[in-house]
């Protein structure tokens, strides 16, 4: 126990005295997350659009001049070629859309904007049809009124000259019912409800949980791995091994020493994205913290394990493309449902996969313990396995009777 405390205390002192490491551990993730927030959290960019052949078109009201520049066909073609506009619309019937087309995301933006305008076009068409129908109905009503007028005159004449014939006609006449005014048809409108989240949820809100996992993992992995590697390369690990300290105390000392920083780091990071970046979250802060915390443990234990296979810092960093990058892609940041089975199976071997799952459940779906215990358990299992291997590795290099 005392050895454990001594180990942890030493690691804490080392980190505290090494200001750069401390900054990397705490400030760097904040900076990067802020950057990500600016990139993904910003409102979607507006596409630049134009219309041509608009003068004679009655669809013009659908294309507000604030959204669509008015151009001649020649201007429009030139602007499209110069990438000044993303698309232009030819309003001659049938309506045609010309897209610039080199950037799929801008294509999508342009098309969704144009589709909105096309809905208004349809409304205009419907209104036009409605107007022409009303005209026809009005004409018919007029002729009916004229017929009724003559009928009334005929009835008056008959009343004067043949009243009995009139009563028999009136009795046999079909009882015409007055047409009741038909209820105006309701406007068709989509009523959207969200099971989770709301329509304000932007890309950052859904990326956020994965991002937190990735950055916590990355920085703990780097710092933990390098500091254990140094222990090996400078020979201090030999000194430890030539002392009565037990193998598990070496590894657990690391876990505890770094664990304290991890608590501080997770706390600052979580508070920052929740309260400063205002990421969408309906879950409890404590749940988020617990997940981030146990994720860091798997990062730390994995980095200690991999440092065994590195003989210098550069080799340690060579593990990043191998260990971190695949996790970024398979962690749930991007949909992986359509990937081949073995790739998805690979994703299941990655700690960040589980932290993302758990953090999404907590932050967006608002679940509590019953929603994330499984992912949390797997993360703990990762750590346990790595820690056990670490202890065995140290034991193998220490031919001493315990």
């Amino acid at each position: 126990m005392r050895n454990l405390v001594a180990m942890a205390k030493r690691i804490i002192r080392q980190i505290v005295r090494d200001k750069r490491t401390l900054a990397l551990l705490i400030i760097a993730p904040l900076l990067i997350l802020t950057l990500v927030w600016f990139i993904f959290g910003a409102k979607a960019a507006e596409p630049n659009l134009a219309i041509i052949h608009y003068k004679s078109s009655d669809l013009l009201p659908a294309f507000k001049s604030s959204d669509y520049a008015r151009m001649s066909p020649l201007q429009a073609r030139q602007a499209l070629a110069d990438k000044k506009i993303d698309a232009y619309i030819d309003l001659e019937t049938p309506v045609k859309v010309h897209l610039e087309g080199s950037d799929p995301s801008r294509n999508g933006l342009a098309m969704s904007k144009i589709n909105k305008s096309m809905q208004i076009v349809q409304q205009i068409n419907v209104k036009k049809m409605k107007a022409s129908f009303t005209d026809i109905i009005h004409a018919q009503q007029k002729s009916i009124q004229e017929q009724q007028q003559t009928l009334r005159q005929m009835t008056e004449v008959m009343q004067r000259y043949a009243p009995s014939a009139l009563t028999s006609i009136m009795q046999n006449a079909p009882k015409g019912e007055k047409p009741t005014a038909t209820a105006a048809p309701e406007k068709v409108k989509l009523d959207v409800t969200y099971l989770h989240g709301n329509d304000d949820l932007n890309t950052f809100d859904s990326f956020g949980p994965a991002m937190v996992g990735i950055f916590v993992f990355l920085f703990i992995f780097m710092i933990g791995g390098v500091s254990f590697l140094r222990e090996r390369t400078t020979g201090t690990l030999d000194r430890l091994m030539a002392s009565p300290i037990k193998n598990y105390q070496i590894i657990w000392g690391y876990m505890i020493g770094f664990g304290l920083f991890v608590i501080v780091q997770s706390f600052i990071l979580t508070c920052y994205i929740v309260y400063v970046l205002n990421i969408y979250t309906i879950g409890h802060l404590l749940d988020v913290l617990i997940i981030v915390f146990i994720l860091s443990f798997s990062a730390l234990s994995l980095s200690i394990l991999l440092s065994t296979f590195a003989s210098n810092e550069l080799q340690m960093f060579q593990f990043i493309p191998l260990v971190i990058v695949p996790q970024v892609f398979l962690s749930g940041l991007f949909p992986i449902d359509t990937l081949p089975g073995w790739v998805r199976a690979l994703g299941n071997l990655m700690p960040i996969h589980y932290s993302t799952e758990a953090l999404r459940n907590i932050m967006i779906r608002g679940t509590r313990f019953e929603g994330w215990w499984f992912d949390g358990l797997i993360l703990i299992l990762f750590s346990v396995v790595f820690i056990v291997i670490n202890i065995l590795v140290i034991r193998a290099s220490r031919p001493v009777v315990d």
Binding site: R2, V5, M7, G235, R239, L240, M241, V400
Partner: protein, 285 residues
């Protein structure tokens, strides 16, 4: 037991050395008193370290080839030999930091245990310090994992800092230390828990003659208190101060004994010339 010490030269023939027979006797007599109680007062022991028939190879290079050595309680044993002879490897194997391919190591007449490390001070050839920490924090950590605590620990840290002339630099971080200061701090870390057995791999390399002399005075003082010291060195005037020296060459312990007697035996005026003499003898054969 060892009424004589076996020394074999180039593996061709054995040369039996009859020396210190009386001393060996006294050790054996005292062996029984060691068994009675393992308290600190009973400082006399027959052999704090014993390595028997140690073999070690890396890839296809043989680094140690059947090396046996036994240290006596309260002696300073110098391990000398050219660079790459396997001195560091031998020390690391004796410590249990490296596994020997063949052969056995005993610490304090037992298979090495964690507990034996309590009475063992190791100083590696590299400084093995935490550069981010201050000198005090380094010593504090190494003292703590050796089971020291509280006031006694603090007092002891100041004490060893004084012995290596670092008492004014304790607050400095090791990153700002000079090479020699690091070396002295590394030595202090090996001393801090008052071990009975010291394994020091080139403890005085890179130090100025004054400090070097102080350190050797310290070794003699420790020896006087019953400690056993094994030290590797390249410096010949240090070799002369050892009670016994072992000559390691290409993974073999080619000669071993008191420096004076070795020189007399080979009829050479200095220890380093023994290497040459033995080589010549081997060639003649």
């Amino acid at each position: 037991m060892t009424y004589y010490l076996s020394v074999f030269i180039n593996g061709h023939f054995y040369l039996y050395w009859l020396l210190n027979i009386s001393q060996s006797h006294s050790i054996i007599i005292n062996e029984h008193s060691v068994q009675l109680g393992n308290t600190k007062d009973v400082t006399i022991m027959s052999y704090p370290v014993k390595g028997e028939h140690l073999h070690k190879h890396y890839k296809n290079q043989i680094v140690l080839n059947d090396v046996s050595l036994t240290l006596h309680e309260g002696e300073i044993y110098g391990l000398i030999g050219p660079s790459g002879a396997g001195k560091t490897t031998l020390v690391r194997i004796l410590l249990g930091l490296e596994k020997a391919d063949k052969g056995a190591v005993e610490l304090f007449e037992q298979k090495p245990t964690l507990n034996a490390f309590r009475s063992l001070g190791y100083m590696a050839q590299s400084d093995a310090l935490y550069n981010e920490l201050s000198a005090y924090q380094n010593l504090d950590f190494f003292a703590s994992i050796q089971g020291m605590s509280g006031k006694a620990k603090k007092q002891r840290i100041l004490e060893v800092a004084k012995t290596v002339n670092l008492e004014k630099d304790l607050k400095k971080s090791v990153a700002q230390f000079s090479g020699g200061m690091k070396r002295r701090l590394s030595l202090a870390a090996a001393l801090v828990h008052r071990p009975r057995l010291y394994l020091l791999d080139e403890p005085t390399v890179g130090l100025d003659p004054m400090i070097r002399r102080n350190i050797w005075t310290l070794f003699h003082y420790l020896k006087g208190k019953g400690a056993t010291i094994i030290v590797t060195t390249h410096v010949m005037d240090e070799v002369a101060q050892c009670d016994r020296v072992g000559l390691l060459s290409e993974g073999k312990l080619i000669a071993q004994g008191a420096p004076k007697e070795l020189m007399d035996h080979y009829g050479v005026p200095s220890v380093e010339e023994i290497f040459i003499a033995i080589e010549k003898a081997g060639d003649k054969k």
